[in-house]
């Protein structure tokens, strides 16, 4: 079932504010995931890797909030998430799912953003999500770039991923 948080995020599909809110919602998920993940792996061999991604992912929220406010929009509320995994391997598999969904979410969302500054901001974040998607795949022993062309992830799929982890 789609909760009010996600419904609000895409209530009026079509405007840049809605698209940016959709991306902000996913960034909140990433910040929450890596914040908790870093607490778990601190001091272990994954400290640097997860810590670096956590640090940079958390920097993505604020500029999106500012951009939404600059376009006279209201940023979505930060929801609570719950991520369950029992070991480092589970954490990294979840990280891969989240990063791949993020790259695809940006690729899809950027097709409908009209404001150039907003598009530029989304692009500058999307590039880092793609870096992370490749790096997490490599960390999992997988091909960092399995195809010459990335595919967008549908809005429905992104929302389903958001709901899957929402508490």
């Amino acid at each position: 079932m789609v909760g009010p948080f996600v419904r609000n995020a895409v209530a009026k599909t079509g405007s840049d504010v809605d698209t940016l809110n959709f991306l902000l919602a996913f960034e909140y998920l990433e910040s929450a995931f890596y914040g908790a993940a870093y607490e778990r792996v601190r001091g272990s061999h994954l400290d640097f890797f997860v810590g670096l991604i956590a640090d940079y992912e958390m920097q993505h929220d604020e500029p999106l909030v500012s951009m939404i406010e600059g376009l006279d929009g209201k940023p979505v509320e930060k929801p609570k998430f719950d991520f369950s995994y029992s070991d480092d391997a589970g954490l990294l598999r979840l990280a891969q799912l989240i990063e791949e969904t993020a790259v695809g979410a940006y690729s899809g969302a950027m097709l409908s953003i009209e404001n150039k500054e907003a598009l530029s901001l989304a692009g500058s974040i999307a590039q880092i999500e793609a870096r992370f998607a490749g790096a997490v795949r490599a960390q999992n022993g997988e091909d960092p770039a399995p195809s010459a062309f990335d595919s967008p992830v549908s809005e429905a799929q992104v929302l389903a991923t958001l709901e899957m982890f929402r508490r």
Partner: protein, 147 residues
């Protein structure tokens, strides 16, 4: 660039497979963009003759990282100018793969998987000036010998 690095023999072992893979993906990007330009009634630019400084294994990997960074910045600079949504979709499909290449190569040369939280765009003029350093002839200019 990838072709020259592979041909140089400076990269060996499992790493060579990664470089080959990335190189073949770049060739697919060239083919896709060429087809797109033709489809829109344009003439694809001629392939420039290039020469890359290949002094050793590390410098070859650093070169790849530099060119991938330039490519990522070039796409980031151009996506805001694209009006046709099919063109934007193709560019974004390539742009994301360049990002995957970038973190992989940065890690190979001992850097972190990203230098920061945000990618930096570069305008076309600056991209071309930087790319010019690898061009030895082309665009009707008098060919000069590679070093």
């Amino acid at each position: 660039m990838y072709a020259d690095v592979i041909e140089s023999g400076l990269i060996k072992g499992p790493l060579l497979e990664t470089i080959r893979k990335f190189g073949s993906q770049e060739a697919e990007h060239v083919a896709a963009l060429t087809a797109l330009v033709k489809q829109m009634g344009g003439t694809p630019v001629a392939k420039a003759r290039t020469s890359f400084p290949l002094r050793g294994r590390i410098s070859a990997l650093e070169l790849i990282a530099e060119v991938e960074d330039l490519s990522g910045a070039a796409y980031l600079g151009q996506i805001v100018h694209v009006k046709n949504s099919a063109v934007l979709e193709s560019m974004l499909a390539i742009f994301a793969v360049e990002g995957r290449h970038m973190s992989t190569v940065d890690k190979l040369i001992g850097f972190g998987i990203t230098p920061g939280a945000f990618g930096s765009p570069m305008e076309a003029g600056l991209v071309l000036r930087q790319a010019e350093s690898y061009v030895v002839s082309g665009n009707g200019k008098t060919p000069r010998k590679a070093n």
